[in-house]
């Protein structure tokens, strides 16, 4: 039987507010345990939550960016369960009336077509603290610094059909929240993480299979691997005549497998009810309009603009707009270069991306800035160096933190465009290789490349390739 995979993702993105969602404590990552837990985060008797207006604005931004309905009225509810890192014994979340309903994003599939992935809802909630099981031997430590950090939980429709699609959707959202500057997207620190709901069904059937929920995936690779493993596990189970059990599973990255955490029977009854300590969140039209007016150019809009303005392919535009910083860098290069958008795109996506990747750097930390790269590309355009030598120059710029011109000068890489110099080199090569010359003239055209190579070798690679071709062709034909 052929199986179809069905995936829905629940993304948790920490909002970039300075203080927590219901208290004035700071949200910065990495403070000593419990240094950023106020009496409100610690759930002292008598304390009350007060909603952070900035968190609401960020959620509205997100809703607008995915063309969702921003609800005029949303309600915070209590999700009740006992856990030591949940100080109040309940999490304040939104349940029946979330702030954002029904949006969508488009992902680019490998075959170049676009696919729409629906977003059921997005709601505001507070994060829990952390239980530190290894910190103190025999005991569990509780760090409540993260307790009360604002989160937006983005729930997708079950629209994804493969691990690849799930990753593409996750990357799309990752790009979007960073564009909106509502989340730093740091997956290692857990500021952007997701749960994957995975099920399989016989291809062609409508009814959804029983799903398993894989919790807390915090890298794109883990999402892909965990889903692939889970799909294979479910198919194997079903083909052996078994049943998938609805349960929560954890991905073990070391073993590359998912493991059952708790089944539906053991699941908590969260006893949701509206939080009487907080008023419903009411947002009016003018407030939404003001937020809409403050939205930055979004990834899709930017990609579209790159296609029309710079003549890039959809794929290139997608890569270059994957982060706001990369897109800005690219546009700076084009600006300094006064055009040559395609050359700039190839360079940024090619050599520059290669070096960044090799050294594990983000674009913001690139040793060569946009103006520096533009100057290098300018030297290709104005025939000072060849494209081939440019790679060597960029590598040197990267290491030595020097400008393209300084490197070209210091290494004597300036391209020979002087025709007489090139002619002299050609003459020397021709007289040194009389046999090959005779063969060429007898019709062995393939030897042209041989002569190009020899002249280049003689000029130290500095001969202008176009000029060389032209002169060589003329001279060889006698």
């Amino acid at each position: 039987m052929e199986w179809e995979t069905v995936i829905g993702l629940e993304i948790h993105a920490q909002l970039l507010t300075r203080s927590k969602i219901f208290s004035g404590a700071a949200t910065a990552y990495g403070a000593p345990p419990n240094a950023q837990a106020s009496l409100i985060d610690l759930a002292y008797p008598g304390v009350l939550p007060v909603l952070n207006a900035e968190a609401v604005r960020m959620a509205v931004k997100f809703g607008l960016a995915i063309n969702a309905r921003v609800m005029r009225r949303s309600v915070f509810a209590r999700k009740n369960y006992f856990y030591p890192d949940l100080p109040k014994g309940y999490q304040i979340s939104q349940y029946e009336l979330p702030i954002v309903c029904g949006g969508a994003v488009c992902i680019l599939l490998e075959d170049g077509t676009e696919k729409r992935i629906g977003v059921t809802r997005a709601h505001l909630e507070e994060d829990a603290g952390k239980s530190l099981h290894e910190a103190i031997p025999g005991l569990t430590g509780i760090d409540l610094n993260r307790a009360g950090t604002p989160l937006i939980e983005i729930v997708s429709d079950p629209d994804m059909r493969s691990a690849r699609e799930a990753v593409a959707y996750l990357k799309k959202m990752h790009t979007l929240v960073r564009y909106l500057r509502i989340c730093d997207g740091n997956m290692q620190e857990g500021s952007f993480r997701c749960d994957a709901n995975v099920s399989v069904r016989p291809r062609g059937t409508e009814k959804l299979g029983t799903r398993a929920e894989i919790k807390n995936l915090n890298s794109f690779r883990f999402v892909e691997k965990a889903i692939q493993f889970e799909v294979a596990r479910q198919i194997e189970l079903l083909e052996a005549g078994g049943n998938v059990v609805q349960e929560t599973r954890l991905y073990d990255a070391d073993r590359g497998e998912t493991r059952a955490m708790r089944s539906k029977e053991q699941a908590n009854d969260y006893r949701y009810f509206p939080d009487p300590d907080l008023l419903p969140v009411e947002i009016d039209e003018p407030a939404i309009d003001a937020i809409a007016a403050s939205l930055p150019e979004l990834p899709d809009q930017k990609a579209q603009r790159f296609i029309t303005e710079y003549g890039l392919s959809a794929y290139d535009a997608g890569v270059l707009t994957a982060s706001n910083e990369l897109a800005d860098y690219y546009e700076q290069v084009v600006l300094h270069l006064a055009g040559h958008a395609k050359l700039a795109a190839n360079s940024v996506m090619g050599e520059l991306a290669g070096l960044l990747n090799r050294d594990g750097l983000e674009i913001g930390a690139s040793p060569v800035d946009a103006a520096g790269l533009a100057l290098l590309l300018q030297r290709i355009v104005d025939n000072t160096i060849s494209g081939k030598l440019a790679k060597e120059v960029l590598e040197a710029m990267w290491q030595e933190r020097a400008s393209a011109d300084a490197i070209i000068e210091a290494r004597g890489l300036r391209q020979i465009t002087d025709e007489s110099a090139i002619e002299r080199a050609i003459d020397a090569v021709m007289s040194a290789h009389a046999a090959q010359l005779a063969d060429y003239r007898a019709g062995k055209d393939k030897l042209f490349g041989f002569f190009v190579g020899q002249v280049m070798k003689a000029t130290g690679g500095k001969a202008n390739p176009a000029r060389l071709n032209e002169l060589l062709r003329k001279k060889l034909s006698g």
Binding site: A43, P45, G46, V47, L48, V50, D269, P276, D277, L278
Partner: protein, 479 residues
């Protein structure tokens, strides 16, 4: 140095400003009286003698420096549900028996800033859950009019001039049963920040005082918007004393038909009707008003309040503060024994009821339905206030009952709240004023008004108290 204790806050304040008594002297006197009666009444959980005398010294210095303020140097007590920095806040529970709050409740902070001197923390039903002040971990409170009887609850220990809280009647009911004035303000009028939560949508801080005038003076200091409580309302605080003496001519009083039912002690009904005659003579007119959904308030309340309490009390888990069981085996054991040993029977009963009514499959049938009925009750009140200015009825169906009389039957106990709960469900202000005695036990008249009508309620209560002296009567042995 005798006799001062019978004075109202207004009288004490006048004497302090005039210099006929110092705050240190007054504070000493009250501390001595607390010591004298504590054994018989058990009204206090903590007496903060040292801090009180220090505060009194500071108040005297302020007065000597010529500062003026209605509460400077006036001794008061706080219900032990309000957090007080540096002093124990127990909420009448073993769970918090040794809990010292690191911060002051807004109410405490404001009264302290106004110069009031805190004598101590008064006893109460555990977590304010009770109608008799018998469920305190620190033992029951007794009624000064008859120590064999309950003082009402949950604010049972707050007799002289004291802060209190009212979730279903916990200010008005003990006020009625002890012969004092009890004001529950509009929901949102007084900040709940620092008040240990029982049922968040119903809890409201208020006052137990000798007179309505005292309530006006204290409320002015306590009330007002607090950015730390999202449910506090951003409305200016009027000068409650300014309108106290206003004549009642033209006042339209509605008699709550549903309150004069078979459950009401006929002698209490007579005292209320006598009081209404006084108000009529003052120029008020009376008419009958019916609130058909009001009889549903007890079942409605006993769904909503436990639901909220089951969630509010989840934080008492033995992890961060409060009672923790000895040598827990594992996490579950820590939770079960800390909560099992830390909470008393009534609190556990309400947590269980609340957990049940919020559970999947029962939520719609209980919690949601109760919220709908709550909206109907609010609408009944709103309709009534189109016709009348205030509603009047008894505060309690009977006078104080004997200790232990109702502890075996929770439902009978819950029915004590039958007349007080409506105002909580609708978020309305209400005041109970003493209006006579039945077999030597005090009886209270309840006046309920529209949202933020405290000036009117205090005005009606004050005019009544100008024409009566029930509120100035002291129990035998307390004169």
């Amino acid at each position: 140095m005798t006799g001062w204790h019978a004075n109202t806050v207004a009288e004490l304040s006048a004497a302090l400003h005039e210099g006929s008594v110092s705050s240190v002297e007054l504070t000493g006197l009250y501390l001595a009286r607390i010591a004298q009666h504590q054994g018989a009444l058990n009204a206090f959980i903590s007496v903060t003698q040292e801090a009180a005398l220090l505060q009194a010294e500071r108040a005297d210095a302020r007065l000597r420096a010529g500062e003026r303020g209605a509460l400077i140097g006036v001794p008061i007590a706080h219900k032990d549900i309000f957090c007080t920095a540096g002093e124990r806040t127990t909420c009448g529970s073993r769970m918090l028996a040794n809990f010292v709050s690191p911060y002051d409740a807004t109410v405490v902070e404001r009264l302290r800033a106004a110069g009031a001197v805190m004598l101590g923390k008064t006893n109460m039903d555990e977590f304010a859950m009770g109608s008799s002040s018998e469920t305190s971990y620190f033992g029951p409170v007794r009624n000064p009019w008859d120590p064999a009887r309950v003082p009402g609850g949950s604010s049972g220990g707050s007799a002289p001039a004291a802060t209190a809280t009212d979730t279903g009647g916990s200010i008005r009911q003990p006020a009625a049963l002890c012969g004092v004035t009890g004001l529950k303000p509009t929901y949102g009028r007084v900040s709940r920040f620092g008040m240990v939560a029982f049922a968040s949508s119903l809890d409201q801080g208020g006052l137990l005082t000798i007179s309505a005038e005292d309530a006006a003076v204290l409320l002015a200091a306590m009330a007002g918007f607090d950015e730390r409580d999202s449910t506090s309302v951003e409305l200016p605080v009027p000068d409650y004393t300014a309108s106290l003496a206003q004549p009642l001519k033209g006042l339209k009083i509605g008699l709550l038909h549903e309150f004069f039912d078979q459950g009401l002690d006929p002698q209490i009904e007579q005292r209320i009707r006598d009081a209404l005659d006084v108000l009529r003579l003052e120029g008020a007119s009376l008419r009958d008003v019916s609130l058909p959904n009001l009889p549903l308030s007890v079942p409605t309340y006993y769904v909503v309040a436990p639901a909220e309490c089951s969630s509010n009390l989840a934080r008492f888990d033995g992890v961060r503060y409060g009672y923790r069981c000895e040598r827990p085996r594992d996490l579950l054991d820590l939770y079960q024994r800390s909560r099992g040993e830390g909470f008393g029977a009534e609190v556990k009963r309400r947590i269980m009821v609340g957990t049940y009514v919020l559970s999947a499959g029962y939520y719609d049938a209980y919690y949601l339905k109760a919220q709908r009925v709550r909206a109907l009750i609010s609408a009944d009140f709103a309709r009534a206030f189109h016709e009348v200015d205030v509603l009047i009825g008894p505060t309690t169906p009977t006078a104080a009952f004997e200790l232990g009389a109702k502890t075996g039957d929770p439902v009978t106990m819950y029915l004590n709240d039958i007349y007080t709960i409506g105002a909580n469900l609708a978020g309305l202000p209400a005041i109970s004023v003493p209006c006579g005695f039945v077999q030597g036990l005090p009886v209270g008249m309840q006046i309920i008004g529209p949202h933020f009508s405290e000036p009117r309620l205090l005005n009606v209560a004050h005019r009544y108290q100008c024409e009566s002296d029930w509120h100035r009567r002291a129990p035998p042995g307390f004169t």
